[in-house]
Structure formats: structure tokens, C-alpha cells
């Protein structure tokens, strides 16, 4: 379970988030919507402790993220898989190595890596492209590698920050279907997007942001701004 308790974030006294109170249960599929600058990305950055809130507290289960030490931080991040709009793949590593990296940092044995990575690449439909470098893959394929990487150490939560922002409609739906499939396997998904069609089609919980505040939070919600 994720809990935001009265969280605010200011950049040079300019509010990016203000007074956020949210509860996301284990196994939920939550979409975060809002225009650019509404605070979606800031919210996700706070969750993976890439940034610290100016005030308030954030909990992941019984762990307070806001007071986490630098040594504990990597272990928190291994519980959360993150997918970014710009994929953030390691340019000098093949698809296989990019996925394997997430397991290497967690100290998984080589045998386990050799066994799990091909399975995950198969799940995202890239088993044939395991040996290719990111520059040799299309945008959609790169994003699927990123999803495979986020997924490979079986995280409790997957955060996807505008994962389809750089993709064409066909690839967009590939990625969304993949996230839905992962969700069905029991993983919490937090999807930040401003793609109206996706939100209106998937029919899940929608939290709408405007100027750093939650303006709407509905089950089976639609994209309304």
C-alpha cells in the first residue's frame, strides 16, 4: 500500500504539489492524469525518492520513504519498477544486458539471470532482439525492453511515467496491453499519462491533477480536465 499524507513540494517557493493525500492499495491500477506541469511527474519522483517532498510524509507499506537513508534507497527502488517516457536504457548494453542489469544490482546469481531474462524478454515479445543495442531498436521495442527491466525482479509496484509519450498508436497499445497483463498478475500499476483515449478505454481508477492539487479521484474514471 502507498500512502501520501499531506505532501507538498515546492521548487524555489513555486508549488509543484500541494497538500496531497492519497492511498493506493496493493494490486490497484491507477492512472494519474493532468496537463503538463500539473505535478504528475513530481508525484512519481517523490515515490522513488528521486526528489524529497518539502513537507508531508510518504509510506510504502510500513516504510516511510521520506525518511529513508541513502543506503536503504537502492533496496526501495528494487521494490518499484519504473518505466520512463524516454525509456532510459543504457546505450552501451544490449536488450538482454539492460534487463540483466536490474537483476545484477540486486545481486541475483548468474544462473538465475540467464534463466529469467529470456523469459521476461519473451513476455514483452523481444526474445529475438535480445542481442541488439537500444539504437538498433524502434521506440516501441525500446519501451518494451524498459518494461522488461522494470518487471524482471518482480517488483510490487510498477510506475510508468508517460510510457507512451514517444510512441505511435500501435506501439502505444502494445505497451498498455502489456501493463494490463502485468497488472492481472497482481502488480500495482501507477500510470501517468495525458492520453485521453487510453484513460477512457481502460476503465480504471483515475486521479486528476491540476496545478499541483488532486481535483478528481474516481474509480472507472474518465479523462476530464
Amino acid at each position: 500500500m502507498i500512502l501520501f499524507s499531506n505532501v507538498s513540494k515546492y521548487y524555489n517557493s513555486h508549488p509543484a504539489l500541494e497538500g496531497i493525500n492519497l492511498k493506493i492499495s496493493q494490486g490497484e491500477f491507477v492512472s494519474i492524469v493532468g496537463q503538463s506541469g500539473a505535478g504528475k511527474s513530481t508525484l512519481l519522483k517523490l515515490l522513488i525518492a528521486e526528489e524529497a517532498p518539502t513537507q508531508g510524509r510518504i509510506y510504502l507499506d510500513d516504510k516511510e520513504i521520506t525518511s529513508i537513508s541513502r543506503t536503504e534507497l537502492p533496496y526501495l527502488r528494487r521494490r518499484i519498477g519504473t518505466v520512463f517516457q524516454d525509456f532510459k536504457l543504457l546505450a552501451n548494453r544490449t536488450a538482454f544486458e539492460n534487463v540483466a542489469f536490474a537483476m545484477e544490482v540486486a545481486g541475483s546469481p548468474r544462473k538465475e539471470i540467464a534463466q529469467d531474462v529470456p523469459q521476461i524478454l519473451q513476455l514483452v515479445g523481444l526474445e529475438q532482439k535480445a542481442g541488439q543495442f537500444p539504437r538498433e531498436l524502434s521506440g516501441g521495442e525500446q519501451q518494451r525492453v524498459a518494461i522488461a527491466r522494470a518487471l524482471v525482479h518482480q517488483p510490487d509496484i510498477i510506475i510508468a511515467d508517460e510510457p507512451t509519450g514517444n510512441l505511435d498508436p500501435l506501439n502505444t497499445w502494445d505497451v498498455i496491453r502489456l501493463l494490463m497483463k502485468i497488472h492481472e498478475l497482481g502488480t500495482t500499476i501507477i500510470l501517468a499519462t495525458h492520453d485521453r483515449e487510453i484513460i477512457n478505454t481502460i476503465n480504471k481508477r483515475v486521479i486528476s491533477f491540476d496545478k499541483g492539487r488532486v481535483v478528481r479521484d474516481e474509480e472507472g474514471g474518465r479523462y476530464i480536465l
Binding site: P74, R77, R78, L90, N92, F101, V105, A106, G107, A150
Partner: protein
Amino acid sequence: MVNALGRVFKTGMRHFWRNGWLSTATISVMALALAMILGVLLVSVLMGALLDNLKSKLDVSVYFRLDTPEEEILKMKNDVLARPEVKRVEYVSSDDALARFKDRYKEDQTILASLDELDGKIFEASLNIGARNPEDFQPIVDFIKDPRFVPLESKVQENRDVIDRLSAVITGIRVVGFGVSIMLSAVAVLICFNTIRMAIYTLRDEVNIMKLVGGTNWFVRGPFLVEGFAYGIVSSLVTMVLFYPLVFALSPSLARFFPGVNLLDYFVSNFVLLWLILLVAGTVIGVFGSMFAIRKYLRV
């Protein structure tokens, strides 16, 4: 732990290999900087050799009256030799001096003929005394001017002044050279640091990604340190290999300016030591440079 270290090492070597151009550029600049350090080292060796050469020429000659018995001179020779500041003592007997004279003027029949006109001993026997250091000179001179020796001596000749002046000049050059070498080394280190900083700057996104997928600081930093280490090894080797032909080509002309110095011999016989110096400098700069440069990007 061993597993993690192995991975860090493997990843570092993979970075090094796959970022080929970046590695080549970094190594080139580091090799140039190390060449500067090596150049400074070799110049200081040359200067040292020159100074040693001059010091070995420091001597004082004592000439003896013609009637001094040889055993007295030899006794004095032993007394002089027993002194710690004395490096060498050469006894030139009256006959030796004559032989040397004849040898020097063997072309000049007039002089040789006039020698025959003279009878008996004409050349004074002498002791030629070499000092270990210029500062050892005074005690030696004091010793040979001891009242028990003075009656035997006809004159004492020193070349101290000239050598002193030359030594002062060379010492001056060495002091200035030391300052310059410190400065050049500092410049070399700064250049290396900056090059590594730029290399890591181009990889800052990678560092960021590694941190975001849960890499610990050491797991992310490790491969960069391995890479820095590899930069040090390769650039020190490159420098040594490039210096060999340079020294080979310059050595004969340098031997003309610095008599008794064979730079090529010195370079070859000290190859491993010189390489170790560059290796330590290169790897320390590589590893610490990487460590400092990456610090900023680990704060994610």
C-alpha cells in the same frame, strides 16, 4: 561479494571497450600528461648526472719537493685515503709525470730532445685527491696543510672555485627545474582530472539510470573506477612505448651536451621502474579522478 566484484570488474572492462572513442581520447590526453611527467623525470636525471660528473672532477693536487722520499709520499697517501671525505687518491710519481709529459709531446722532437739535456728528476711527484662532495673540500685541504706534511710539499693546486661556481649554477637550475616540474605535474594531473570529468559527464545519464533501477553507489561507481584504472595502465604503457624511439633518437645528441650520460641506457635499464612510476601516477589519477567526477551524479 566476490560475485559483485567480478561483475563490477567485467562491467568496467566492457565500458572501457564499448566506449572505444571516449577511452581513446581520454587515454591520449592522459598519455600526453604522463609524457610531461616522464620528460621532467628524465631532465632531472640528466641534470643529476651532469652534477655528479662535475663533482667527480673535483680534486686537489699536492706537489712534492723533488727530494721527498717516495715512502713518505706513499705514507701520506694512505693517511689521506683513510679520511672519510676522500673519494680517491692517485699517486703520480716523478717518473710517471715524466712519462706523461713525454707522451703528451711525443710529436714535438725539440721538447723531447731538450729533456735529454736535463739530468735527474725534473718532475715533481704528486698526489691527486678527489673529494666526495664539494663541501668535503675544505677538510681535505686543511688536512694536507698539516704542519707534518708542509715541509714535503712544494705546492697545492685546487680546481674548487670553477667547480663551485658550476655546481651553484646547476643546483640553481635543479631548484628551478624542481619548481617547474611540480608545476608541470600539477598541470598534467589537472588535465587528466578534467578529461575524466568530461568522460563521465558524457555518461551521466547512464549513472542516473543505474541509480534509478536500484544500483547501490558502489555498484554504480565500481565500473567507472575500474575504467579509470584501465586508463592509467594503458596510458602509462602508451607513454613508455612512445618514449622509447624518442629517447633512442635523442640520446646521441644529448651525450654530446652531457658527457658521460647515456640516456638510452638509463631509459632501458630503468624501464620497469619508470613505467611503475607512470603506472602509479596514471592509476591513482584515473581512479581518484573517476571517484571525484562521479560523485555529483550519484546524488540521485
